[in-house]
Amino acid sequence: MRDCGAGGSGKMALFWRIWTAVILVNLVVLTLFVGLATLQFDSINSGLVGERLVVLAGRTAAPFQAAAKIGLPLSSVRNADALLERARQTDDAILAIHVFDAAGRVVHSTDTPAPAALPPEALAARTAAAGASWHSETEGGFLSGIDITARGGVTTGGILIVYPGGGNVTRVRAMGAELALAAIAVLLAAAGLSAVLLRLGLDRQIRMFEAVDGAIADFERGAWRSAAAAAADPVPADGASADGTAELRQLLDAAESRYRATGRAIAATREVGE
């Protein structure tokens, strides 16, 4: 490829400019995709954990529910610690399971010592759920809970499961990194493919531009040769019409001739004036 311009503006400059624009747009799209997909993964993953914990909370609540139905306070369930421990053992990662009363005070827990009351985030999520089972993701991890109701539908308390969130964060970051890597690989492949497609698709425009550039270069060569030969007008075109640039070359020659003729006329007039 012949480079005929200063400052690196060669004949392929048009191609490279469009290629850069296309790659930039592709980069933006893939970046957005990776971002959206990672957010969606976070949502899927925490949803899966939350749904499981809600089911576990429901199962754990069943014996307490039975006690509440016959009017016993939750704090009076004798084998509560064993029931909670059995539930906790279904997943080693569970941090704690609490049974709380209607005021949010913890009455049984797998933690020793048991906390006095539910954390504020859990209270807020429980209030928002308005009696339904609920799941919330906080900075400290996942919180899942379910209410325990006595006869007549009166809420007497509930079960709260605390699950670590660190593993989820790590998984989401790993997913983001994996998708970013895939996107980089695809972007590189797309860069190659787009180079081929653009080269083929813009062939007509690139050839046209090359012909224009060639005609201008020929004209410039003619101009400096005419200066060396002290010719009055630029040296005419040699074969420029073959690539369809005859009109351009004729215009260049005619404009140059007219410029030189006008310049000579001004010089002559100036001499007369002096």
């Binding site: 311009g5 933006v28 959206l36 698709g201 369809g244 005619a254």
Partner: protein, 657 residues
């Protein structure tokens, strides 16, 4: 190939670039999409295992309790019902089977559903989406009595990724359009316009006119030639100044007395990118505005349907109020100044809408935005028509409409996507930022003389004398029979009823946006072809009539079926019908009136008034007769309009014959 004529064949270039970019962006997105599904499957496997273990543990505990009570495994009552409940709790589970140790099935529940496209095409295999099975034995004492088998759906992740995929496909379409506009802008600014400028100056200098310069720049030799020709003019001007004034007239050439003036050549492509981004910005709320307005606090006497329509009505009123003066404003102040002055208030109005909490605020700011939307787009339209000069036909207006609708398409889709993911505030802020960007691009690109005040510089080509012709019967029939029903249908069905109807079927902002964008997609895909057809053998009249009939049929199709897909098909059909109408309609109006002027201003005004009346009637009728009957009436009105137009057109032809 000749360099001088046609220079860059923009239609052909646009077609090629569209195909290439669509292929490239879609292929990239699909490739990363498949990688994502595969990675998701692997990543959720441990959690799916935890969930399945929990299911089988719970089921086993229940069955073992029955066994401990002495009930045989094949006599446990209500087992199927119990397993059904478990199936409901875990969406990923396809089938739960309990079989005796001898392999005889005791209970089996499974999820009903047709195999997905991914399963049918075998793509699931390609991206490693496999069915996973978990088994757990049931023991009674030391004896194995049964086995629980849980099968996990191989399409679980795929279904959870559906929304992301749809969002990304929309994103890919937007990106293709943006990439196309960028690639065209790069090609035209690097080669097309510099070549046009060089040819113009060469022509002048060959004829002995050295009074002008051109903007330096352009790739390679073009930049050098521009510099050389500019220097010719400047050199001669300096040399001429050195000779006595009395002798200057003896020179057989026109030379600048001072520094040569720079030529500002205009081209429609000057405004292309700015107009595209401006349209994106102003339509950012198209998919969710009625819902946003309906949910805002409002006066007690105002019903929810009217509240949803209020911002649209004020928008149309404001646009209609500006329409008769927009053209005159553009001619008085110049298209460039009018456009640039319209951008900051538009961005402000978008931001303010995002932070509004009451219907009054939302409606007011929408009205403010409408005023400046009208001035900005009319400025661009005037620029286009002036830049096209004497070029008649649908091409300049068709190109203008294609760019506006490309922007509207991207704006409605992008707005829905951003609102669905990040909230409505974020969508409005995005719109405001894009509006400001369009202003920056407009300031850089709208330098042509078509952007100057009328009379401030000599027009590039004289306007046809017929531009001042009044409204004739054909124009009135065209406006009332075609333009008014078309705009009423857009306002009523696309802007107002589609969001409400889809929201009622459970669709969110992103899904509504995907359906609304189908309307605009037609213009983007088929607009250039329609423009060629309008200038070619079929002509604008047949296209306008076909489009009107098609749009009427699309509206009436909703009487035959209903639901999400019915609305989506009707939206696409209406989009296709209106694509056939829009550019030919303007070409016809320009042909009848002779060019921009009172006739075109009247077209803009009557279009908006039709939309306002239609929208107001629809908001009232919605409460009385419902959406379906309203749309049926609208469809009949469209068909009646086209009948009136055809009669007037035929009568006019027979008189002329």
């Amino acid at each position: 190939m000749t360099v001088s004529s046609g220079r860059i064949d923009r239609d052909r270039l646009r077609g090629r670039l569209t195909l290439m970019l669509a292929t490239l962006v879609t292929a990239s997105v699909l490739a990363v999409g498949f990688a994502a599904v595969s990675a998701f499957n692997r990543a959720v496997e441990p959690e799916l295992a935890n969930r399945t273990r929990l299911i089988v543990t719970i089921i086993r505990a229940e069955i073992q309790r029955a066994l401990e009570l002495g009930i045989p495994i094949d006599a446990v009552a209500g087992l199927d019902r119990y397993l059904d409940r478990s199936l409901e709790q875990f969406a990923e589970v396809d089938r739960i089977t309990i079989a005796t140790a001898a392999g005889k099935p005791v209970a089996l529940v499974e999820r009903a559903g047709a195999p997905s496209l991914m399963a049918q095409t075998g793509l699931g295999e390609v991206i490693s989406v496999r069915r996973t099975t978990f088994n757990l034995p049931i023991l009674h004492g030391n004896r194995l009595v049964a086995e629980i088998t849980v099968e996990i759906s191989p399409l679980f992740v795929q279904t959870r990724l559906r929304d992301v995929f749809l969002d990304v496909l929309v994103l890919a379409l937007i990106a293709t359009l943006v990439a196309l506009e960028l690639a065209l802008a790069v090609t035209i600014s690097s080669v097309g316009k510099p070549l046009d400028r060089v040819f113009r100056l060469l022509g002048e200098q060959r004829a002995g006119d050295f009074r002008h310069r051109i903007r330096p720049g352009g790739l390679g030799g073009l930049g050098r030639t521009a510099a050389r020709l500019n220097d010719h003019a400047e050199d001669l001007a300096v040399r001429l100044a050195a000779i006595p004034v009395a002798l200057r007239d003896t020179i057989d050439a026109r030379i600048a007395a001072t520094r040569p003036l720079r030529l500002h050549l205009s081209d429609f492509n000057d405004i292309r990118l700015a107009l595209f981004l401006f349209s994106v910005a102003t339509e950012i709320a198209a998919a969710f505005l009625p819902l946003y307005a309906r949910a805002a606090s409002r006066p007690g006497w105002l019903g929810p349907d009217l509240a949803a329509a209020a911002p649209l009505v004020l928008y149309l009123v404001a646009v209609a109020a500006l329409s008769p003066f927009g053209g005159a404003l553009a001619r008085r102040f110049g298209a460039r100044r009018l456009f640039l002055a319209s951008v900051p208030p538009t961005a402000l109005a978008l931001m303010a809408m995002g932070f509004s909490s009451s219907l009054v605020e939302i409606t007011l700011w929408r009205g403010v935005m409408a005023v400046f939307y009208a001035t900005a787009t009319i400025a661009c339209q005037e620029y286009t028509i002036r830049a096209a000069g004497g070029q008649a036909g649908a091409r300049p207006v068709g190109a203008f409409i294609a760019v506006v609708y490309g922007g509207v398409f991207c704006g409605s889709a992008l707005g829905g996507l951003v609102a669905g993911r990040f909230g409505i505030d974020a969508a409005f802020v995005t719109g405001a930022v894009i509006a400001l960007l369009s202003g920056l691009l407009g300031a850089a690109a709208m330098r042509g003389r078509a952007g100057d005040r009328a009379g401030a510089s000599q027009p590039e080509t004289p306007r046809p004398a017929a531009a001042t012709r009044g409204l004739g019967g054909r124009l009135v029939a065209l406006l009332l029979g075609i333009a008014v029903p078309m705009n009423a249908a857009t306002a009523i069905f696309i802007w107002y009823l589609t969001p409400l109807m889809l929201s009622a079927t459970g669709s969110g902002p992103a899904e509504i946006a995907r359906v609304v964008m189908l309307y605009y997609l037609s213009v983007v895909l088929f607009g250039p072809m329609v423009t060629r057809l309008a200038d070619g053998r079929p002509g604008p009249v047949s296209l306008v009539v076909t489009g009107a009939l098609g749009s009427g049929a699309a509206l009436l199709s909703l009487s035959l079926w209903s639901g999400f897909w019915a609305v989506a098909v009707a939206v696409a059909g209406l989009g296709l019908g209106h694509t056939l109408i829009r550019a030919p309609l303007y070409a016809l109006a320009l042909r009848i009136t002779g060019g921009p002027g009172p006739g075109i201003d009247a077209l803009r005004l009557i279009e908006r008034i039709g939309a306002i009346i239609g929208l107001a009637a629809s908001a009232v009728l919605l409460g009385l007769i419902g959406a379906e009957a309203s749309l049926r009436l609208l469809g009949l009105a469209v068909l009646a309009g086209v009948a009136v137009y055809v009669i007037v057109e035929l009568a006019g032809r027979s008189r002329r014959a």
